[in-house]
Amino acid sequence: MRNVIAAFILLIAITGVSAWSSIHLCGELDTLGAMVAEIPADADSMKKDADGVRTSAERLMEKWDAMFPYLAYVTGYTALNRADDAVLEFCSAAENGSYPDAAVARLKLLDALTRMRELESVTPGSIF
């Protein structure tokens, strides 16, 4: 009987923690997505707001670095590596003033974050 009670409590706890983890992760990914969405989309606009793009890249890198250890625990490495590559690509391109590359990397990053969010949210699409 003790096993049954322990199993029940454990199951409730795991369900709770994983639901919280999923909601928290989706929230964090939304925040990151919003940060990336604020960055100008095309190379010309980036060039005009070079300082703003550089600042955004720095903030993005900081946020990503802070999130990375947690993400590594709870998400698949394939999706995580894709987003990590895109962040690095964007930040280095923004730092070097290579805005066409930065624009491409921004799109890749947005797509990677969207895909990660899709995989993490409990929807029929991600379950099946």
Partner: protein, 225 residues
């Protein structure tokens, strides 16, 4: 993470239904839910070991959830006969007093050749010797022979042998067995008394000491005599 848990619960239920649908013959020696758990555990445990692209938590959490599900399902089976019958099925009598129930065989998807083979393996080549052949929930066939085909026992020979139960191990390789003592209903003092009577001073001199339910003590000394 939540997706993994939801997927695991879904696959567990799905596999349970599929295995139930496949019938008893596919189960082997396990209960339905045990088989499903065994399927999934092996795969879940192997996944992150062989694929470094998968976080270890993807193994730890689902295995924990699976263990919890298995305990809860087993408990639900104990408490609800209806649920147990629904998921694990019921024993099916496939042969009664020499007459094979063709419908029962068909519903269990057991062929006549399989039935005959199982009967032969149990030592009954002639179905007429069998009173009951029952396909159990775990897929094994229980065979109960007719009285005339059973080997004679003490009852049929009208003998009244003494009930000796099992031999409880009291000392094994010079060490006292607390579990054996507790099961036998004797105390360590009883055992020491028997040892002294037989000329032993210490448990270290004894390789094996047993006592059966009728109170017969047996001692094998350490020197093997």
């Amino acid at each position: 993470m939540a997706v993994i848990v939801v997927r695991l619960v879904f696959v567990y239920l799905y596999l349970t239904i599929i295995v139930r649908f496949m019938g008893k013959r596919q189960i082997g020696e396990m209960q339905m839910s045990e088989l499903v758990t065994a399927f999934m555990l092996s795969e879940l445990a192997a996944m992150p070991v062989t694929d470094t692209q998968i976080p270890l938590l993807y193994c730890i959490i689902p295995v924990l959830v699976l263990a919890c599900l298995e305990i809860l399902v087993s408990f639900a089976f104990l408490r609800s006969g209806k649920l147990a019958r629904l998921i694990a099925g019921v024993p099916v009598v496939v042969l009664r007093y020499g007459k094979i129930d063709r419908r029962a065989l068909l519903s269990s998807r057991m062929t006549l050749a399989e039935l005959m083979g199982e009967l032969r393996q149990k030592g009954y080549p002639d179905p007429n010797d069998v009173a009951y052949a029952i396909l159990e929930e775990n897929g094994r066939l229980s065979v109960i022979a007719k009285k005339a085909a059973q080997p004679p026992d003490a009852r049929t020979l009208a003998r009244h042998p003494r009930e000796t139960g099992i031999c409880h191990t009291i000392i094994a390789d010079g060490n006292w067995s607390a579990a054996g003592l507790s099961l036998s209903g004797h105390t360590a003092e009883d055992a020491r008394h028997v040892l002294r009577q037989q000329g032993y001073h210490d448990a270290a001199e004894v390789f094996l000491m047993t006592v059966d339910d009728a109170g017969t003590w047996r001692i094998v000394p350490m020197n093997g005599e």
